[in-house]
């Protein structure tokens, strides 16, 4: 049988269930034979049970539900300065290669033009039904149009614009087909830059959506923020594998469907109708019926 000293050495591990089974047997055997050790062990256990009653103030579900938003906002604020600097490298390198000597705005124009190509390709498979505003198609063709609208102070309006811009970007990515399209049509570097900006805006928009009725809208902006960050963080060069993973994520999370539903909730007063993406659940049965492929 083990000694009282040995038994005492084992008490902490025994109290916290960390004794090996073999040791536990000899420990229990000692306690059965030694009332002093049994009593000490019992008192220590009782002390721990009293300590179990200690309450740490739980900040509550709202605190936990919004924890990520606050952290993401903080991440954005603290990362803003370094986030801008790295963009200069690929930007200048690309400009140097393609349009050496041209001013910076030409790059944005080139990105816009590349997206126009994507828009035209999408247009082959998507045609707006008669009478329906062709906002989405025009926005895809000219993403600058979606962002060139003057900034609004209305949180819902800002969020709606955010959805529009994100959707345009995602459509360009999701509809890209490497077998039939040139890599320049994808314009991944341009998209990464735009996504970085969008992910930064998301935190600000989320924090402005304070009305409890805007919870879903806020969640969607948060989902989009993650996707924007994923795109912004895609590997250097043409990370087509990463693009595929993002496509899958967009599909699995029904992002286009959620954007459509949210836009409907917001009144659908914007320039863009439902996201008509062929083969997507986002289109919904009614939307599919309207589409001509």
């Amino acid at each position: 049988m083990i000694s009282c000293r040995k038994c005492r050495d084992m008490m902490i591990e025994a109290l916290y269930g960390e004794l090996r089974p073999a040791d536990r047997e000899s420990f229990d055997a000692h306690l059965r034979a030694c009332p002093d050790c049994a009593s000490e062990y019992s008192i220590m256990g009782a002390t721990l049970r009293v300590m179990d009653e200690r309450r740490r103030p739980d900040p509550g579900p709202e605190f936990w539900d919004t924890y990520w938003d606050r952290l993401a906002a903080r991440l954005d604020v603290t990362d803003k300065a370094p986030a801008v600097r790295p963009q200069a490298v690929p930007l200048s390198a690309r400009l140097g290669r393609l349009f050496s000597g041209l001013p910076g705005w030409t790059w944005q124009a080139a990105a816009g033009a590349a997206l126009v190509v994507v828009g035209i390709l999408i247009g082959r498979s998507i045609v707006s039904p008669p009478g329906q505003p062709a906002g989405l198609v025009s926005a895809v063709q000219n993403p600058a149009a979606a962002s060139a609208v003057p900034a609004s102070n209305d949180p819902s309006e800002r969020a709606r614009r955010y959805l529009d811009r994100s959707q345009v970007l995602l459509l360009g990515l999701v509809n890209y087909n490497p077998k039939t399209q040139d890599l320049y049509a994808l314009d991944l570097d341009g998209k990464k830059t735009a996504c970085r900006e969008l992910s930064l805006q998301a935190a600000d928009i989320q924090s402005s959506l304070k009305d409890p009725r805007q919870k879903r809208l806020k969640e969607l902006v948060s989902d989009l923020q993650i996707i924007m960050m994923q795109i912004a963080n895609l590997g250097a060069g043409n990370d087509l594998e990463g693009v595929d993973l993002i496509k899958q994520g967009v599909e699995q999370r029904d992002i286009f469907l959620k954007i459509d539903l949210t836009r409907m909730t917001l009144g659908a007063a914007g320039p863009q109708g439902p996201s008509a993406r062929p083969g997507s659940q986002a289109s919904g049965a009614a939307d599919k019926a309207k589409m001509r492929i």
Binding site: I12, E18, S42, I43, A46, E53, P57, Q230
Partner: protein, 199 residues
């Protein structure tokens, strides 16, 4: 839900989805450990967020042989201690009474429970105050070990890793902590108040 391996791989690749999953899985543990160390909810949130930001930015320092949880708790514990050190250099201008009460470990009780049984509420408050007082009587090292084991579910070996101690020292600190708490709380009623001392 991602498993630990996926999260580690994701964090190493700066994958925001993995980072979010990581935050969702660990936010409560990190917050409550920070609360244990710094003693008030406002600072605890601040420290917990600092910890996550630090992890996001410097995950490269994580040794993949180690357990993610242990490493995270070590980062949290150290961030809490650093926070206290920094705070000690800046005197508080105004002490919020509610905050102070919370830091003493007095949990806010819901209005319904207070109205339904005032006697029980008073008793609960007394117990919380007694526990908080008892915890103040143990040394910082004993307290750290006790908090990590009893409230944050770290194994003895993990505590040893976290605090850079041997497992034997951790056991020893913990034993002494329990004994001191036992004295401060008064011997629980299992043996009619008798304090055991033998060997």
């Amino acid at each position: 839900m991602m498993d630990e391996k996926d999260i580690i791989n994701g964090l190493a690749a700066s994958d925001p989805t993995a980072f979010r999953e990581f935050v969702e899985q660990y936010k409560k543990k990190v917050y409550f450990l920070a609360l244990d160390v710094v003693g008030n909810p406002v600072d605890a949130e601040d420290v917990s967020q600092e910890v996550f930001l630090k992890v996001y930015r410097s995950f490269g320092t994580f040794n993949r042989e180690a357990r993610l949880g242990s490493w995270l708790y070590r980062v949290t514990y150290n961030a809490g201690i650093d926070h206290l050190r920094r705070k000690a250099l800046i005197p508080e201008a105004v002490e919020d009474e509610a905050l102070e009460a919370r830091s003493r470990g007095e949990a806010p009780l819901s209005a319904s429970s207070a109205f339904s049984d005032p006697a029980a509420t008073a008793e609960a408050r007394q117990l919380q105050a007694k526990i908080a007082l008892a915890l103040e009587k143990v040394s910082p090292q004993e307290k750290a070990v006790f908090l990590l084991r009893h409230y944050n579910d770290l194994k003895l070996k993990e505590i040893a890793e976290t605090l850079h101690l041997s497992t034997g020292s951790v056991k020893s600190y913990l034993f002494r902590a329990v004994k001191k708490l036992q004295r401060e709380l008064g011997a629980p009623d299992v043996t009619g108040g008798m304090e055991v001392s033998h060997d």
